[in-house]
């Protein structure tokens, strides 16, 4: 997962990407060794929020649920890296989690378990017992490759057609993982995946994902993809290579999703195709939509808020008897409430809770168009055109 930062645009645009990321570092806040690049204040603050949430969750006795929330956070950040940047809703990124999950399983499952649960494995895989953390590197690479190939396939697709193609991708992945008995063990669960359910690894990956995505968001390709999100025709007109930006976003997010899939499998300790299907996709979409799809802050806030809420709503299922007011509880009620709440957010605040806002430290603005245009919700195609023109 550490390879993220070395990944996206450089190979395709050896000359273009540098100026795009570098310019912002010239403006800093604070002094001396305390100085922080203003542009890194978003991931910095978000890291703070995540750390506080982790502390809060352990205070409230969330236990493992807190770790699960962090893994979901990785996935939602991955989802944002594509949907937030391109404006294309994806209904199939869970398919990359499935790929990550199965790669992690195949690499780390003890040979003994493989010999009787997956007897059809080719010999070179049957004996492999990789360190689970090392395996995550391969998991990430596989996610990148899978998303890269898939991204090439849907290169030209826009809007709804692109969203639906991702759904078709998920349905294919689900069917293949369910049917390919030799490799995946079929519909039944495969036990014995090395269990990692501590907070620290999930936290490290979540923070890395946030930082990498923030960095990624500042690259030239991504700014251009974002411009295309706001107004595709205008973007085309000024010569932005819209499809290339989307492809890069797809590739990057596929890697992050695969990591989340690997972590999830380690967390649960087993794997089955049903882990990564429509219900999981729906949860992730809820997190992203409630928070706000277009900003990293939205992805983080949405995930943490909904997870917290889901836990706090538990009395609806369990019932209560406080100060004479008794309620019997109705198992499943909290999911109904969560669904309604999602609808409410969609109706009242279609941009999500944060509505495109990126959290950052206050700073003096020096009228850079590039800086302003990064603030998604307020952008106009004109300033975006300036943005990309400036970078050229």
């Amino acid at each position: 997962m550490r390879t993220e930062s070395a990944m996206p645009t450089n190979p395709t645009h050896p000359t273009g990407s540098k100026r795009g990321d570098m310019k912002p570092t010239s403006r800093t806040i604070g002094r001396g060794w305390l100085a922080v690049s203003a542009d890194w204040s978003t991931p910095l603050l978000l890291s703070g929020i995540v750390l506080m949430a982790v502390a809060l969750m352990s205070l409230l006795g969330f236990g493992r649920t807190g770790v699960e929330a962090l893994i979901m956070l990785v996935a939602v950040v991955g989802l944002h890296a594509y949907s937030g940047v391109t404006g294309i809703a994806t209904f199939g990124h869970v398919g990359f989690m499935a790929i990550g999950g199965y790669v992690a399983t195949l690499l780390t499952l003890p040979a003994v378990v493989k010999s009787y649960r997956l007897p059809g494995l080719p010999p070179w895989l049957a004996g492999t017992e990789m360190d689970p953390y090392l395996a995550l590197v391969v998991v990430y690479a596989c996610g990148v490759v899978a998303a890269g190939v898939f991204g090439l396939l849907i290169w030209r697709l826009n809007g709804l057609a692109a969203g639906i193609s991702t759904l078709a991708f998920l349905l294919v992945t689900y069917n293949v993982t369910s049917g390919w008995e030799d490799v995946t063990g079929g519909r039944g669960a495969v036990p014995g995946v090395p269990q990692i359910s501590d907070t620290a690894p999930a936290l490290v990956v979540a923070l890395l994902a946030i930082w990498a995505t923030a960095w990624f968001g500042r690259t030239r390709q991504v700014r251009m993809a974002r411009a295309a999100r706001e107004d595709e025709a205008a973007a085309h007109a000024i010569g932005i290579r819209v499809h290339l930006g989307r492809w890069v976003a797809m590739t990057f997010s596929g890697g992050v999703m695969a990591l989340a899939g690997g972590l999830y499998v380690y967390f649960v300790g087993s794997i089955s195709p049903d882990f990564f299907y429509v219900p999981m996709m729906f949860s992730l979409l809820t997190f992203l939509v409630v928070g706000g799809m277009t900003s990293l802050t939205g992805a983080v806030v949405g995930t943490l808020a909904v997870q917290l809420l889901r836990q706090l709503l538990e009395p609806l299922d369990r019932g209560w008897d406080v100060a004479g007011i008794a309620f019997d509880g109705r198992p499943g009620l909290r999911f109904v409430v969560l669904g309604l709440l999602t609808l409410l957010v969609l109706a009242k605040r279609p941009g999500g809770l944060v509505n495109g806002f990126e959290i950052r430290l206050p700073m003096r603005r020096k009228g850079s168009h590039a800086e302003q245009s990064a603030q998604a919700a307020t952008t106009t195609s004109v300033s975006l055109a300036n943005d990309s023109a400036l970078q050229r």
Binding site: S5, V204, D317
Partner: protein, 410 residues
């Protein structure tokens, strides 16, 4: 230039985080195997449950937990285990793989000495693995997959379910010996492992007895039309005595309705998943006739075991109009078996309790004799009471117990 610097930073980051991760990983793995406590020094015995209250698995989990509560009540009324009372801590596993593990972690942190897990092997597994990590015995309420009782997978986990190969062998033997069938046609639902394996175990057992499988075909649980399969089956109708239909609901009602609608009235041989008043009854497809299936017990008051009838009456009273199946009854004996194991071992230490439970040989519990040994932590060996039910005009009734001999290897 800049590129190289970036790569260096990335590499440094990678190394640092890798080191951090490895450090965390190694520190996390040592805390397992808490030793368990001597029975005499306990105040009470806490029975943890990571079982669904919400989602699809409540169909099994809800009724089974009523049996669990009954068992706890009965044992406490009889003075507890060595004078220690039992207490239940039940956390909702939400029909969710990750929550299943989280719920197990929660009940263990609240002092659970044993952990009960969801019936479905896939859903129960994450919780059982958590219990294993903490050195606590886990018991699956009713999983039948031989994997649920395979100590190679989880040394400290058991299942009170009757293994799928035993269930399939029971109906095969009843068909061969009592009903005199020699030729069977198999229609297999390929959607999940259970439905596939129950058909292959049936075939193995039936052939071992001397019978013949004269034809087979497949379908998928979600299919709404089985027209081609049914046409094929009807063409072959003269060649077989009965149809072995391996599936579960909702595909089960679809298949039964379409087979009967095509005018094929040959006997249908089913499996455990056929049980339950959710579909069997005098209405619609449920008004089916000439059907035989194995079950844990009869839900209809005619089970020869009065204590089982009493338990089922209690479950029914608790659930009101909610349909359930005889998968509920093993829940009672799950508690009985765990407590017997703890009593014999004199401690909650997993290794000792497992050892004690591995010595069960036709041990008498409410659901019948239970046998576990070093290689089998599920009801597969020894004597087993599998109830055979017969359905006429939608009315199921108990016909016999079968303890199958021709059990195929798992």
């Amino acid at each position: 230039m800049r590129n190289r610097k970036q790569t260096q930073v990335a590499a440094a980051l990678a190394v640092a985080s890798m080191a951090l991760l490895t450090a965390c990983g190694s520190s996390g793995s040592d805390e397992s195997k808490s030793s368990g406590t001597k029975l005499s020094s306990l105040d009470e015995i806490v029975i943890g449950a990571s079982v669904a209250k919400t989602g699809g698995q409540t169909f099994y989990g809800g009724p089974a937990m009523i049996s669990v509560k009954e068992a706890i009540k009965d044992i406490n009324a009889a003075g507890g285990v060595d004078g220690k009372k039992l207490r239940l801590v039940w956390e909702d596993s939400q029909t969710d793989f990750a929550k299943s593990a989280a719920a197990a972690e929660k009940v263990i942190s609240e002092g659970a000495n044993v952990v009960l897990v969801d019936c479905d092997f896939d859903y129960g597994l994450p919780a059982a693995q958590v219990a294993q990590k903490h050195g606590i015995v886990a018991m699956n309420l009713c999983a039948g997959s031989p994997r649920a009782g395979d100590p190679k997978i989880l040394p400290d986990a058991f299942s009170m379910g009757i293994a799928t190969n035993v269930e399939a062998a029971a109906i095969a033997e009843y068909a061969y010996n009592s009903l005199g069938y020699r030729n069977v046609y198999q229609l297999r639902d390929n959607s999940i492992e259970y439905s596939k394996s129950v058909c292959s175990y049936f075939a193995a057992s039936f052939k071992q007895l001397g019978g013949k499988i004269v034809g087979e075909d497949g379908f998928n649980n979600a299919d709404t039309s089985l027209q081609s399969q049914v046409s094929k089956l009807r063409k072959a109708a003269d060649s077989f005595d009965a149809i072995n239909l391996c599936t579960y609901n909702p595909g089960l009602t679809t298949a039964v309705r379409q087979i009967r609608a095509a005018g094929v009235d040959k006997p249908l041989l089913g499996s455990f998943t056929w049980d339950g008043d959710s579909w069997l009854g005098s209405k619609g497809v449920g008004a089916v006739s000439n059907v035989y299936f194995p079950a844990y017990a009869s839900l209809y008051g005619d089970d020869p075991r009065p204590e089982v009838n009493k338990l089922i009456a209690t479950v029914k009273a608790n659930l009101g109009s909610v349909p359930f199946t005889s998968f509920t009854t093993p829940g009672y004996s799950a508690v009985e078996a765990l407590m017997k194991g703890i009593e014999m071992a004199g401690t909650t230490n997993a290794a000792k309790v497992v050892q004690a439970m591995e010595s069960f040989k036709d041990q008498k519990f409410l659901v019948g004799p239970v046998t576990y040994d070093k290689s089998t932590h599920i009801r597969m060996k020894g004597k087993n009471d599998v109830a055979i039910m017969k359905v006429e005009a939608g009315k199921p009734s108990f016909v016999d117990f079968v303890s199958p001999q021709a059990v195929p290897a798992p």
